[in-house]
């Protein structure tokens, strides 16, 4: 990759792509896609297979054995242990939820100390509209006030957990400003640019380029494309020097009409697409170095 491209690469490695696998999510179910792991062992097996296929990071939401979302510290600890018993993949825990109080989400982060945890950086509508039904499938306000963000980031700072700044819109990136001024966030920052949720920034390559321009020069970043636009956004991000997240949380389909049989199927495709533009998947240790994870 030539020098001219440093512009959108920012703090990423132009030659190595950090592929994250979002193994589970909170809302997807086995009725929708059989491959979704629920138990700690299932999640750990998926993590290990994703690692083999090229993933360096596993992004995880805990589930009870029957698949309900849980914020239990014990369950998060069990998952961490099972994953680390099988593979060296970077462990990244979700902290987002629509109706769970920030205290309970902060607790499992503090206690289990994953290497990375997601941090939602602002509020927005979080909705889905069905053109065929001419109605909203769901219509929520995703609330993350500064006081909640501050509480969560303080927990992460004290626990030595790297925050992954989840930004669904341009203002969310701007919301880092007071947190940097307060010393709650420290450079280099690590960003997820999430696109394709109704209520957040629309999923276009142009908008991805715009989001990347907002980032500090030394920041690392990945794109998270939700549902049908995912593969195009993965293609755009790989071309720009970005990292990418794939996985059953975000999208079930390897291609139109072909459902993934595992997270590894999706990671494998991302790895091929990376190699097609001359970039190699980073190992977990390379990812730790790129993202300044101690």
């Amino acid at each position: 990759m030539t020098d001219a491209n440093r512009e959108s690469v920012k703090g990423n490695d132009p030659d190595r792509v950090v592929i994250s696998a979002a193994l589970t999510g909170a809302l997807t179910t086995r009725d929708q896609c059989e491959a979704i792991p629920y138990t700690a062992e299932e999640i750990a097996e998926e993590a290990a297979a994703a690692r083999e296929a090229g993933a360096a990071v596993a992004h995880i939401h805990a589930r009870t054995d029957n698949g309900s979302p849980t914020y239990s510290t014990e369950r998060y600890q069990e998952i961490k242990d099972e994953v680390q018993a099988r593979t060296d993949i970077v462990v990244n825990f979700s902290t987002g939820a629509i109706h769970e109080p920030v205290e309970s989400r902060a607790e499992y982060v503090r206690e289990t100390q994953p290497e990375v945890a997601a941090l939602n950086m602002g509020s927005m509508n979080y909705a889905k509209y069905s053109e065929s039904r001419e109605d909203y499938v769901f219509d929520m306000v995703f609330e993350n006030s500064f006081s909640e963000i501050r509480e969560m980031v303080t927990t992460m700072q004290e626990a030595g957990v790297k925050p992954e700044l989840e930004c669904f819109d341009t203002g969310h990136i701007g919301n880092t400003r007071p947190l940097l001024a307060e010393g709650k966030l420290e450079h280099p920052l690590h960003f997820s640019l999430i696109m394709g949720v109704l209520g957040g920034i629309p999923a276009t390559a142009e908008n991805l380029a715009h989001q990347v321009r907002q980032l500090p020069d030394d920041a690392t970043w990945q794109v998270i494309g939700i549902s049908e636009d995912q593969w195009r956004l993965v293609g755009a991000a790989l071309a720009m020097g970005g990292n990418v997240r794939v996985g059953l949380e975000d999208n079930f389909y390897v291609s139109d009409g072909e459902m993934a049989e595992s997270n590894a199927d999706l990671v494998e495709k991302a790895a091929r697409m990376a190699r097609d533009v001359g970039r190699e998947p980073a190992t977990p240790d390379e990812a730790r170095e790129i993202m300044s994870i101690d």
Copy 2:
């Protein structure tokens, strides 16, 4: 203005600028700036003076006589009557509020039928951080779910009121998509691009250009710059072919350290800046034509 510039002009008039005067706001007080009008007569006098100075639209929040915000239909009607008794300026009513239910805000719109009413197009944090105090001056979540937006826009559609789509971030512009699909919004759309609120898109010329790129080709638009960044954003918008809003709701200062003695002071400066880039303030009737207000 040459043809190359049509790109950012969109549906606006490259040679005529629609200047809106945001006369009052909901939260500003006479303790902060003596010129803020409270009573219907005071508001109408400010509207008439702003019109003389070059404003084509008066954006108004009702107040009680002692300055508290009110959502009273009677008060809004009184304001409308007093304004129209004095001047031909386009009457534009606010509909935003942090804690007032959508029903009461919809009611005065339905009953008083202003030519234009503001419509907030999404949710976000709405905060202010003071670097000197190292603390948040305020920290709110500004909630506007799709169901609320839908209720408000339905009211406007039935009452023949032109919605002014208030967009604080890129996702808010994208939120027009389901409303267009449902037929709740109709082209040409009219947008306000609000910049400089912590929680929304940061106030840069680059971001303004980005927001404008999202708009349909036939849409009209204005910039609303909040507080100290206002005049730079007015300058940027005028250069791009945009319309502009100024007024005591958004900013008290004609220049650093010089507080306005009336809304007209701010309008007068905007008009001079428009002429300096070769554009003339539109009259109210020209504004009606540009914005397709029947």
Copy 3:
């Protein structure tokens, strides 16, 4: 592809990619890459194989049998006949040259009437700098004055040849303005956005997005990435809804260190990359429809 993406798709088909194969070029030699075709038969065989691999358009520079560039009408006619005897691929002839007068290049276009011919839209430096040698490998001024452009486009208009507007920089796109005003060009226009030549616009995804923004809404476009940046630009263009050109004229390598054994090798990779983002290669007839070639 969802609606939000129409922005960068312009007049292209979001679901179908027109892949062009630049089979020969003028300057590349068999010493550099054995697969480069010289004779009319060789060129036609490469065209047919590229078509099988997914190409819809063959972009061709004539060569003498020993590989020198030629502007001979006879040779161009022979190539056209041989290609059309083997395949239904769209025939696209180069018209560029550093030292050949415009008259001789216009002549073979007028006489052979290819479906499409390239038209260089402006002047620029055309150079290559070697960081290792710390010197310029070559350093030319590529001259295409308006009077030359006008002569060439008049020829194409009279001969019923669709011009492919070759733009190496933003100004070159702007240069369409007087030609449209004169009626020498007619909508919908078809553009090639060439990136990666020293002297022209640098080869970044950000710059590609910028170039696309300049185009009329109904214009079709492809990216042409020169040398090592090609595959990244192909990835970016596919994600944005663009068409792509690959082929031995632009780049010999399927991947780092792996030289192509035929143009079809390069087309095959482009087709796989297109499918990976959910787009199918267009057939020649689909390409004719997309690009409005009668």
Copy 4:
């Protein structure tokens, strides 16, 4: 100006604007505008008056006493002496010409050692089309090959003259890359972004933002808007944190139909526009510090 705006400010001073006055040009004549200075004394008087009105830099082309362009070292020396006898303004000499060999232009730079000299960074068409006449007013190729650029920049480097990098398109900015690699250019760079010449990048605020994005973070920059688009571009640049050039070389008109009676008239307007967005004209010494002129 808030922090968010550093993005487009680059190495400029957000609070101080360096206003350059392009006093003469090479081609404009007193038949077109009576105020154009020809003799060294006239030029120096205009420089001093421009300084009083707010200009920090005088950009000068030498003329013979009857107004023809001249590349005479003696005349350039005379101008420098006369200017410096009257005012502390930064002296900036043109080096551009369509038909004058680079040697003669290098000579007066070497001998007279102005603080700054313009350096054209690439080739392009340089034309003007009249829609009313339906013809080209002029149609030239403006040639500046790398070998010429290199010769000129070597002269400047040896003479201790700061180059002002004249960029008419995006590729021209990219052309700094080999010169930086060779050590012919050194950071921080100083750029002029010229807009509105047919053949170069079209004069839109969007394109100005794009050009600025290409610049190194510590680069200083100004916009040069040619003819009728000038004031809009001045407005856009001031809003973005840019410096600006005005003057009779670029545009005769203070406003539509009102011709300037001196360069100072144009500078005075630029200064007012700067103050209207909260920025103060820099003094020559402040300009030297901002632009790192020793």
